[in-house]
Amino acid sequence: MNSQHDCENCPVHHRENLIRLGIAMDRVDYVVALAGNPNTGKSTVFNNLTGLRQHTGNWPGKTVTRAEGGYSYAEKRYKVVDLPGTYSLLSTSTDEETARDFILFGRPDVTVIVADATRLERNLNLVLQVLEITDRAVLCLNLMDEAKRNHIEIDERNLSAELGIPVIPAAARQKEGMPELIAAIEEVASGRYVCQPHRLKSRSPKLNHAVSTLAQKLAAQFPGLPNLNWVALRLLEGDQSIIEAVRTGELGKLSTGVLSPQP
């Protein structure tokens, strides 16, 4: 849980670390992480993308082991990692740690957040948390068919503008929206779509003060860190893996250069 070397569900998946973990990454161009609330059809999206047949149950929290698969598109090879379904990334459960650490330390090229269109507000909780960590994300609005049946309409363009990332409506069970999703992933991965993720502001003045004090220090120590405020907040929450990353200087590696843009 606290050691970076215990690699069964070790989060370090950044490209230079991958060979060390024994996952064949020589011929993969992009890593895509799949995050989302439980029971939003995340595994179905995963199966559609990779052609695998992970079990998908109508049970919250079905996927417990992390699944990996791949696909290739427009002459690029993508590796897809299905993260455990979680409601949040702030608590201390193992699942949430796995998901969070992968998004932070593994620095996937794109994080696809699968959300249930019928319960968008609830799902936005996780979406906003993911956007605090990474600035390369795509929102897959799944279960649009159910939303339609329930007369729920979502203004995707407005949502995309609010969140600052591409929003793709989909119905994964009917395999609808998958080509668009793959195209959006490609755009973000290649850097043709530059995300401007929504960042949280509405906090209490006392907390804002603490966060900015700490963020200043962090900026001086680890220049170029993309998610200063979030890291500061995690330190204030006593998150052990972030504390370790600061102590060992591992955090600095995250700031050395934004991911390589496309040839």
């Binding site: 849980m1 606290n2 409601y87 949040s88 702030l90 608590s91 201390t92 459960s93 249930d116 019928t118 319960r119 968008l120 507000e121 609830r122 909780n125 329930n150 729920i152 929450e237 006593g238 998150d239 052990q240 504390i243």
Partner: protein
């Protein structure tokens, strides 16, 4: 009709198989159990008694908390070390709160005679942990860091019990009092890391950092407040136990906002969570508060989610601070935050968990949890906001 088979070894091959349909036995001893026990000549009543005895003894040996193992475990604790550490802790507490600390108060606090206290203090002095300064004792630097280590373990353990276990809050302090003498600093650090490196214990006391830092003492005794003051409870002293018990029974907790209504005749009347309480000065001095100068008093007494009938709707006001740790985070993750509309949708066939519609999903919540959630009932009917 039994026949004796001459060859006791039926052998590995099938060569010995005959087509005899009757059943052969090697010898004529009746193998039945009744007979076997009669041969052993043990009366079943007797062995029944013996069996009950064995089960009782086993249960007594392995019984958690009160069994023999637990007892031996408790006795193994080095009582001299316990006394020494308790003394350091007490001395530190006095210094932290700027109270002078003499021989008799130490003896009283540790429940030992003045003679024993003198010997104990002599030993502490010989070990270089305390010094004497005009009749009062003071911790040396090494004494202070020793005390801080013990306090750190104590408070981390209390936090752990509060957040991560189902152990009742009346038992936290006692359990931590035992744990502090046997848990190593490394084990405490590991535990702290696991539960999110807490900086406050559940009573509102700061937890010393691993490096031995501790913030300045903040706040003032509740008994010092004047009429009209609004303050927040930052700490409830858990000793003496009898006072703590009653304060907890009143429903007071750290983080609670209090509004002083009246101070008269050594009694303090105040509003807390919309309810009026009266405390004597003695009880009030067990509570430390922090003044909130420009704050409106929270007055409304919230209704509990469990009181919502199927079909009714309400808005969530908050979660009680007595719901802690993972349970609290889980509820918040499910969307139970102030301002969220909630509708009681269906009740389980067995009557207990109730399904509440929260942000478009139906969540089953037990009554015991719903008792922790405060709501404000709405006039409007079950019409929901857009999901």
């Amino acid at each position: 009709m039994f026949c004796v088979n001459g060859n006791p070894l039926n052998g590995a091959s099938k060569a010995h198989q005959s087509n005899c349909a009757c059943v052969y036995l090697r010898n004529t001893t009746d193998y039945s159990i009744t007979a076997a026990l009669m041969i052993l000549n043990i009366h079943p009543g007797l062995s029944l008694l013996a069996g009950i005895l064995v089960v009782a003894v086993l249960a007594w040996v392995f019984w958690p908390q009160n069994g023999l193992f637990a007892l031996i475990d408790r006795l193994r604790m080095n009582s001299r070390r316990v006394l020494l550490e308790d003394a350091l802790k007490y001395l530190f507490d006095c210094e932290y709160k700027n109270i002078d600390c003499g021989l008799h108060s130490i003896a009283g606090n540790l429940h030992i005679s003045a003679d024993q206290a003198t010997r104990l203090l002599d030993r502490l002095r010989a070990m270089g942990l305390i010094t004497m300064k005009d009749q009062f004792f003071q911790l040396t630097d090494s004494g202070k860091s020793y005390a801080l280590r013990v306090i750190r373990v104590h408070r981390i353990w209390e936090r752990y019990l509060a957040d991560e276990t189902g152990i009742d809050q009346m038992e936290w302090h006692g359990a931590a009092d035992r744990k502090e003498h046997r848990m190593s600093a490394e084990a405490a650090d590991a535990l702290a890391a696991q539960i999110g490196n807490p900086v406050f214990d559940p009573h509102g006391d700061p937890i010393p950092s691993a490096q031995g830092e501790l913030p300045e003492h903040k706040g003032q005794p509740f008994s010092s407040l004047e009429e009209g003051a609004i303050a927040r409870i930052v700490h409830i002293e858990d000793e003496p136990h009898t006072i703590y018990e009653q304060l907890v029974a009143l429903g007071l907790y750290p983080g609670m906002q209090v509004y002083v209504l009246d101070v008269a005749n050594g009694k303090i009347t105040f509003a807390a969570d919309g309810e009026e309480c009266v405390l004597t000065a003695l009880f009030a001095s067990s509570i430390t508060v922090e003044l909130l100068p420009d704050q409106e008093p929270l007055s409304t007494k919230a209704t509990l989610l469990s009181s919502l009938q199927v079909g009714e709707s309400a808005e969530i006001v908050g979660i009680s601070p007595n719901c802690r740790g993972q349970q609290r985070r889980r509820l918040m993750d499910l969307g139970i935050v102030p301002g969220t509309p909630v509708t009681a949708e269906l009740r389980s066939a067995s009557g207990d968990p109730t399904g509440y519609r929260i942000m478009g999903a139906t969540i089953g919540i037990r009554k015991s949890q719903a008792d922790f959630i405060f709501i404000e009932k709405k006039e409007t009917t079950a019409d929901e906001q857009p999901a």
